[in-house]
């Protein structure tokens, strides 16, 4: 059956980068499935099937399903801070505008029909046991978020920077969760406005 071969060659055309051909495809498919339907809900068989590869290919690139999930989250982490830093870079030296820009963007994201919450938050809910590879990545991401928000709250001139930073984190997490719970028209749509009210009430007078 040479037909399959031809298709493969057509997709993976030319003199592409040699080493990690299947690994990227596997991670891409896993990313999509893990995010949309949950990590525990997806078996490795479905991943390799949709990726057009076989199981041994997966286990040569990733030590286990748990580690594949951790890789998915590390990718998620990179993209997360990309979005965050874009909002920061748009308003240099103005932390309040930076937060506002980020939250406006979060609010919009939560209103998209395919929105499924924060991959980090979801993973932590799916794996409550401490030390699980997926949870480790998730917790690190959240610690970093808390740190940044508290620093920005201080730079804004908040009366109690740690409290304001934590308050913003609560609202952000609430937006992630209620975005997937309520869908369009849910409470997450008002996250930017509510956060702005909270900030205004938390600044030194």
């Amino acid at each position: 059956m040479p037909t399959d071969k031809k298709i493969e060659l057509t997709i993976n055309d030319g003199h592409a980068a040699a080493p990690p051909k299947a690994a990227k495809k596997i991670l891409d498919v896993a990313y999509d499935l893990f995010y949309r339907r949950g990590i525990r809900a997806i078996g490795v068989d479905e991943i390799v099937k949709r990726a057009g590869v076989t199981k041994p290919s997966l286990y040569r690139s990733f030590p286990s399903k748990d580690e594949l999930a951790a890789s998915y989250l590390r990718q998620y982490d990179r993209e997360y801070w990309e979005r965050f830093d874009e909002a920061v870079a748009a308003h240099p030296g103005n932390p309040r505008a930076q937060i506002s820009a980020f939250l406006t963007r979060v609010g919009k994201r939560t209103q998209r029909p395919d929105y499924r919450g924060c991959g980090m938050t979801n993973a932590a809910v799916e794996y409550p046991e401490h030390g699980h590879p997926a949870r480790v990545v998730s917790e690190a991401n959240k610690q970093e978020l808390r740190h940044r928000l508290r620093e920005m709250a201080a730079a804004m001139g908040a009366q109690d920077p740690d409290t304001l930073g934590d308050g913003l984190l609560l609202m952000i997490e609430g937006a992630y969760i209620s975005g997937q719970l309520f869908g369009l028209g849910g409470p997450a749509a008002s996250v930017a406005r509510n956060a702005d009210l909270l900030i205004e009430a938390s600044l030194k007078k």
Copy 2:
């Protein structure tokens, strides 16, 4: 092998209550395991084993594991509104104090070492597909919460009651999630204070 029998009889001694003996035990065990470790993470075998019964007993009282999960959530729902109504009843005619009491209590709960978040929220994360029995219960609970918060925001005299109600919901959900993510000393500890700041900033001046 009559030894097993004897042990069973010793455990299940005397003239115990006849009608729904096993069903309650099953639901109690399932409640604990589902909440602490997640619904997808727990198999029916473990439930019946810990409950000291067998699988057919489970399936005569519950049509499926999904329905058992829904029953767990309905139980959770009853206890949830019990707690909520207690806070409300403690401050008749004073919605702001009611919210404050409820959030103080939520903040305390999130700091307990075995806190694992809101069972409703967790279930919705575990089952993103619409129409799933567990998700149906969860969504109804959250809709009711939104409704109550908006009404209370209106009774408080908020400039924009729907926005304040949704803002409070965001903070509550954020407290549930970050409670299990950060544990002791996490952002959830400040939910009552932050909510109070938000309320103060949202009232008609």
